[in-house]
Symmetry: none
Subunit: 241 residues, 2 copies
């Protein structure tokens, strides 16, 4: 595949090489393999090592390669395994956060909160919070991972019995605390390595990120701050006004 003579669109040398490497990664490499050393590749493509590195940079940025100083360049890319749901897009109500009847608990710990969480829930960095992580599947396909942060440590004992289902229902029925949605922030970004693994998507795939602050119905104090990451290729959020 000669990409050097591409009539329609101008590409730089390093972009050509990146495209060529990407093609070879898909066909000739498997996850866990190492690329040939930069010197060899540079020689093969007849470019300076810097130019070759610039091409590899692109693929590292896309999450398909990982550099290991003194060792080599590791191949992370998997062959595409989900050709199916390019079309299928589920809808999900914007208010569904934390109330998925199908979600499953992945994590349940007490931990000092980060600055980000502290700011959101109005506590100090390092204050202990309950941290739950749940994963929602649709048709057994993971679509959404949610981190829940709860500042009221008195809930800890009860929450340890939460295994699956709707967290908000659980809190409502077990702790008699109906939660009120206070504010929501919606953003999008690329998936990080661990996230793409968890959600079984290619690295760098776009994610919808919904951050929700829930307050206690009774006292009005912050009860839960949740951050959900949703596969943007499968889910869209809907809202009726």
């Amino acid at each position: 595949m000669d990409l050097s003579r591409h009539p329609t669109s101008f590409t730089t040398r390093y972009q050509q090489i990146a495209a060529q490497l990407e093609h070879e990664l898909r066909n000739n490499y498997r996850c866990g393999d190492y690329l040939p050393p930069e010197n060899q590749l540079a020689e093969r493509f007849a470019v300076n090592r810097h130019t070759l590195r610039r091409a590899v940079d692109e693929l590292v940025d896309r999450g398909w390669l990982q550099r290991r100083q003194g060792v080599g360049t590791l191949v992370l890319m998997r062959p595409y395994d989900y050709p199916l749901h390019s079309q299928a897009r589920f809808s999900q109500n914007l208010l569904d956060q934390g109330s998925h009847p199908t979600s499953e608990r992945l994590l349940s710990v007490l931990r000092p909160c980060t600055e980000h969480v502290a700011t959101a829930i109005g506590k100090q960095e390092g204050d202990t919070v309950i941290h739950l992580r749940t994963l929602r599947r649709v048709n057994n396909v993971p679509v959404c991972v949610i981190d829940h942060y709860l500042p009221d440590l008195r809930w800890w004992a009860a929450l340890q019995h939460f295994r699956s289902g709707s967290l908000h229902d659980f809190i409502n029925s077990q702790l008699k605390e109906p939660l009120n949605r206070h504010s929501t922030r919606i953003s999008a970004r690329r998936a990080l390595a661990k996230e793409s693994q968890l959600l079984e998507i290619v690295p760098q795939a776009p994610l919808l990120c919904v951050r929700t602050l829930n307050t206690c119905d009774s006292s009005g104090s912050v009860a839960e701050y949740s951050v959900s990451l949703t596969r943007a290729d499968m889910i869209e959020l809907t809202m009726e006004h």
Copy 2:
């Protein structure tokens, strides 16, 4: 602030410079400003231009700077805002769609609607609709492009006088038709080539996509269907409940 003698952690020269630049961005620059030319900065830091570029690369990757070939390096970061989140982001109310006072008209045509638009507004594929495209900038940085589809062709004459400002305000004042938000769908995907060009982002960068259906206050019929594409690195949507 001398970062060159940092006892605890080893930092490379370009990392020191990136940290220094980040510090200066916060204190001495505002969104929309331009950095001094790379040559000047390189001279100031007494490094090669490549080294300086490597430092700037870091801040570009973090979304705080944006390069414009032939022009300069644009500052995106808002002062006083950063320490809270890992990513400095503007916020935009979820209800802002079509009502940006700063938006500018890019396109204004009559055209047969696609199946997608036809489905949304409840007409037949091929039926003529008014199609407007507007671009919103913040501090002269493009952040959001919106396609508006309006089925009522009687508005065409009046709408041709719309140049900039808030489209919804224009419709309200010129056509005496207050619009009502009916439903909203939010998704995310990677930018296509043309979109990334228009929004001045790298290809494949994640976009927030908000599709809104607005109805006439009076008749309740569909008045406008809009599709907005927003740079996810700069804008997040907020909602108070």
